[in-house]
Symmetry: none
Subunit: 208 residues, 4 copies
DNA sequence: AATGAATGAGCCTTCATTCAT
DNA sequence: AATGAATGAAGGCTCATTCAT
């Protein structure tokens, strides 16, 4: 409410923006606090007015990102009446705003790859929970679809859902890492949707 | 006249084994050369008799691994007469010996996440080529299958193949990172094979 | 708003003074950065705020010294109308402030004696040029003296001048290394001047 | 007498020769024991059968050199009847075999410049004594010449002699360091002899 | 609140020396 | 006697963090 508060929050954001940019360019370990200060156009000391340690920076960055993710997932839960539609929407959601995320992919890797850092930031734990959220969404939709006779009863919802989560992460990660042409990637997504969709509904109506 | 006889190759392997173990436990940056020396039960100086720098260790580790991979891929090329069988074999190959690989997954992440380290080791470049090898294998098999009328002509080989590569990497990575129960993962692989297989042959014989 | 105010130049000088003192006491290789930091009463890290490497220290020390030398030589060029007077003044200049220089003589030796160090510092190159400057001064004065009939035409200016340079360096160096009594050394200088002076004018007016 | 002894002595010499060569090329600090072993074509361990430490190598090298010097000086003492001739011979002696010495000049510098090393090797002490031997020789000859009326009584033998020693060292050192053309250097030596000779006999027969 | 000078713990690497063979 | 593999103490340098101004 007071101007001070606004200032502080804006400055925090400015620092985070600078940190994201420099981390993305150099990676976490290769980034010095001095680099971030320079990018944010402030003194090194000032950074420590807003973040107690270097580790707080990725902690905040990913905290915000995962928070945003979580919101989007919970929105999904309600938007679609038809389970198969909902699943397709879930797939699409995973590939939304991927370009923004591509930026920090190497940073995610570096943190997940460093036990100490990861423990302190809790990234892999948060990440796991985020995936689990998606997983639960898919499980629920598949089971609903099976109950409604719209999805083959032969497939195991927990197994298929978890497989789907891995698949989506794999495709998203490869897009982020290898910088596919958008058209080429879109075609891949289309192929995936097609394959998943036909598989879900396959043998519905088969006599058993 | 009789200098101390040492099996240098065995010692190199012992060091690499120690390095893998410590890297896996702590990550690359958090691992000190002293840690590796202690694990390998030798002096710090001895490490440098076998590897010029700390970076040489992951370089050797991944050099050996990717070499082994490459051999296995090239073997695949010939073993299967039926393209669809070959594709299934390719999928299975990607999930072979995954437990051994799981060990170093975080190390891969950390290196891919660090520009300097990656450049010096050349891991992402090697990794990309390895994936490209698999991609080419799938493309070739799909096209062969289409030529033989065993695979639907509707799908684009380059797009589907590349999607499959991303999918396989995603599933393998999630297995390595989240330590699924083997049965649970096997069921996922089964579901994937099932889905891919039906998609490849779908609408063969459809009148169009 | 008001950052810590520091006279960076003064601090640089303080570090150089400490470095000279410790180098003089122990020699370059035996001096640890920690020794210099202790002598300068600051942390090791602070040294690196002012000098990028250990080698920068002798580089700066000799840079400043040779700069001062060069100025003094160029002043000599004009101050004396009579060439013989100028030569005597040149000789005296070489023995001025010798006590200050005595301090770093062993350091000069150590650097000149170490190929790598010398290359990086460029000391022997600078030193050579400095001697060449003195040499040219003597050559010019001798030739002027010969043109004016004040110096024997029999002697070769380039040869005599270069000999004189070696002689002066030899005497200065011995003074610095063996710490002669000032009176004893002054008497040597006097003898040299006497000898050189009589030799320069010898056989002027001889009929030939 | 026994072949073993001869073998050992030959090997010691081989090691010293290798050491001189490598020290000359790289300087003392930059030379590793492994370099010397390689040059001498033997194992590192073997070096330590002949020399207890790295420092023993320059200690032996200079021990032998200075021993050879001392012999030559003492020979001078008797060879010349005329004091002025003897002094000229002394000057020439200082410039004999200079090319051989040029080889190790940087090594001498490096050792003289390092207090610890010098103390352990005792080089500067030995060097000082060697110079003092030459000094005493010149003093004796000058005084003899003065007694015989062949050298001006005006000059102080101790002062002139010591000056001469510094001069000779200066010229020899510059030859070794700056690699003058032999002719150019010979002409300098000639000029020096000429100057010294005329100065010694100057004003003999002056009325006083 | 903002700054950046100062700090020192910590790490990779070197290399003289040892010693088992 | 000869070897060279093994060792570990030591040093230059980095950089996250502190704190005086």
């Amino acid at each position: 409410m007071s101007p001070k508060i606004v200032d502080r929050e804006a400055k925090r954001q400015a620092i985070l923006a600078a940190a994201i940019a420099v981390f993305a360019e150099k990676g976490y370990h290769a980034t010095k606090m001095a680099d971030i200060a320079r990018k944010a156009e402030m003194g090194k000391g000032t950074l420590y007015e807003y973040f107690r340690t270097k580790e707080e920076l990725p902690k905040s960055i990913f905290g915000l990102m995962l928070e945003a993710f979580d919101q989007e997932i919970s929105q999904l839960e309600q938007a679609h009446a038809d389970p198969v539609d909902a699943i397709m929407a879930g797939i699409q959601l995973c590939f939304q705003d991927l370009d923004e995320f591509a930026y920090v992919t190497p940073l995610v890797f570096e943190i997940l790859g460093n036990k100490d850092l990861d423990r302190s930031i809790g990234l892999s734990e948060d990440f796991k929970q985020w995936l689990e959220g998606i997983n639960q969404f898919f499980i629920a939709q598949i089971q609903a679809g099976q109950a409604q006779g719209k999805i083959s009863s032969k497939l195991s919802a927990p197994i298929f859902a978890r497989m789907l989560v891995s698949i989506l992460d794999g495709m998203a990660t490869h897009y982020c890492m290898f910088h596919f042409q958008p058209d080429f990637f879109m075609a891949q997504v289309k192929a995936l949707e097609d394959m998943v969709c036909s598989y879900l509904v396959s043998s519905i109506g088969d006599k058993q």
